[in-house]
Symmetry: C2
Subunit: 355 residues, 2 copies
């Protein structure tokens, strides 16, 4: 889906921008009026293939019932799953690499809006998203409140916290310090910063999972067949948790582009509902889209107090829900039973928000 030349919030241009999307379920209703579209926003390394990462929540009879709703998901601008990002061809030569500009969450929303308009959709029933998808959902409700009937923002905050910016920047640094990164222009070389990307993911993963869950699963056990207590330390003789993190890092490095990881992580650093709107609470208070806020009690990355802050200050709070889980941030992906009830409740409330 071409969206033409995209202009970023900070003043750069991306000519010939493309946004990938997928649709699940048949459209019904008016493109500019009432219809059955629900936009689902993916998280940092997710994509438009919602059944990949919310398998138990989307499909016939499921909470996101594709017999009833038309679920549309785009791949974020800057990503690497079909939308234009650093690894995409540059209009003049080669690929974008370091020429790809910085994006904000607002840019991701504007690019998505352009894609939806190109599909003839000027209004949707609801927008739902967790983590980076939650940040996009909140921005949608403030940038284009008339575009949606209701919003569901999951495991997110009103702006990036200092701690989040710090730990996210540590991930960017892990990639930048990889000699194969080449300042972001590694695409024409024989090598990719896979080690740096894996290191970034290992750090990130420790913020996606609950501290107690990680300990209950791995504790200080040795990886089977390895001895992490030998006379000399060796990266090949690991604790079980490090084998797990190595696996998570390597898996992401195989499926995701380091340049996109940096661009989208930086977009999370720039997430700030209050920017240009008189501050956080004034911005939240101005929201008139009925919005449900969902948090996870053990979330390290977006601690529950951040969702409490949202719920206290949003101008039109539809409901608040807490996922109770040892899993931490990823519980919005992992706790399907609880999320099923939450999403069903959201869609029920969203049909009569004034009640």
């Amino acid at each position: 889906m071409s969206i033409g030349t995209f202009h970023t919030e900070a003043g750069a241009a991306i000519p010939g921008a493309e946004i990938a999307y997928q649709r699940f379920g048949a459209f019904a209703g008016e493109g500019r009026g009432s219809n059955n579209v629900i936009v689902v926003e993916h998280a940092l390394t997710g994509d438009s293939n919602v059944p990949d990462w919310w398998a138990e929540l989307i499909g016939p009879g499921r909470a996101l019932d594709t017999d009833r709703w038309c679920i549309i998901a785009t791949n974020a601008l800057g990503g690497c799953r079909g939308s234009t990002g650093p690894s995409s061809p540059h209009p003049s030569s080669g690929v974008w690499g370091s020429r790809f500009p910085a994006l904000s969450i607002r840019d991701l929303v504007e690019a998505e809006r352009a894609a939806l308009r190109a599909l003839g959709i000027e209004h949707v029933h609801a927008i739902i998203g967790g983590s980076m998808g939650g940040a996009r959902t909140l921005e949608w409700s403030l940038m284009h409140p008339d575009f949606l009937d209701a919003a569901c923002a999951i495991a997110v905050s009103a702006r990036a916290s200092g701690w989040q910016i710090g730990i996210q920047s540590a991930q960017i640094s892990a990639i930048e310090r990889d000699p194969f990164w080449q300042g972001g222009d590694y695409y024409a070389t024989d090598a990719a910063p896979l080690e740096g990307l894996a290191a970034a993911r290992r750090i990130a993963h420790l913020t996606y999972r609950g501290e107690q869950e990680i300990d209950e699963r791995f504790g200080s056990q040795a990886q089977e067949g390895e001895n992490p207590l030998g006379a000399f330390r060796s990266p090949q003789q690991r604790f079980a948790v490090n084998s797990y993190l190595d696996y998570q890092g390597a898996k992401l490095a195989q499926r995701f582009d380091a340049g996109s990881y940096v661009v989208l992580t930086e977009a999370l650093n720039r997430h700030d509902i209050g920017r240009g709107r008189g501050g956080l609470n004034k911005a939240l208070g101005s929201s008139h889209v009925p919005t449900m806020v969902v948090g996870v009690d053990t979330d390290i990355l977006y601690p529950y107090h951040q969702q409490e802050h949202l719920s206290r200050n949003l101008g039109n709070l539809l409901a608040m829900a807490k996922v109770v889980s040892p899993v931490g941030h990823d519980a919005f992906l992992a706790e399907a039973r609880q999320m099923d009830r939450i999403l069903r409740n959201f869609l029920h409330l969203a049909q009569s928000p004034g009640k």
Copy 2:
């Protein structure tokens, strides 16, 4: 202070090992019996100069009253502040570098014990330590219960948790991935892995401070004179929190050796009170040294539930105290007023633990 050839728990040898120490206050009593010695154990990048990092807690009239107590602090084996570590001369050639073996917390205790014995001290009144110092304190109470009258273990756990091992290994990885690290043998080269060490410290620092404290101090503000929201991301255009973390990283890289950082971080990975003692709770239950446990309510690195676990299972719990602070793990260094009361209370209770 030479301790001769040191044999590690995992079976390596360190010939000609030296342990640096400092004493504050005059010794009184018997080296093998009752005396006024309090051993203070430093944290990961601390050293034997206690007034440097506990300035308000040590000195005449202070909680660690040097008019009354003889405070002794050693620098940990493997360190770089006077004790033998990877940057020390190797008996045969050059410096130790990658030839320096892995150490456990128990090794640090045994090396310290050898140093104290060389000073003629076979018994002390108390041992006090926080973080890595708290791990040493706990091991002291189990390895040599007759060596001390009482123990105060602060902001520590019975063993490294899976999460701790993960985040600590991320720091080791940040150093190993620095091309100047040279597998640990950078000492004869012109360069040191300062970037890797700084990256490790930036990650570590985010676990030393409370999430809300970091946010209250820095939020998503820009560093003065820099613009982190420009059209292109640049490491020179920073959020304030990243400037702060860069400063913390660079400061450590100037004063600490990367090899020592790896060895001591690995010792924290291997911290496990239960190893060879029938498991965690059997080990803790066997302890008969009166032990005070101190935790911090906002500690991310050693969450308070870990100190609750210690307090529930230690065989001879003297008292439990909670530092209430936004600061997180570092509160045991930063909250001098609260720590003053806690240490005074500990020393009071330690004088009549049977009451």
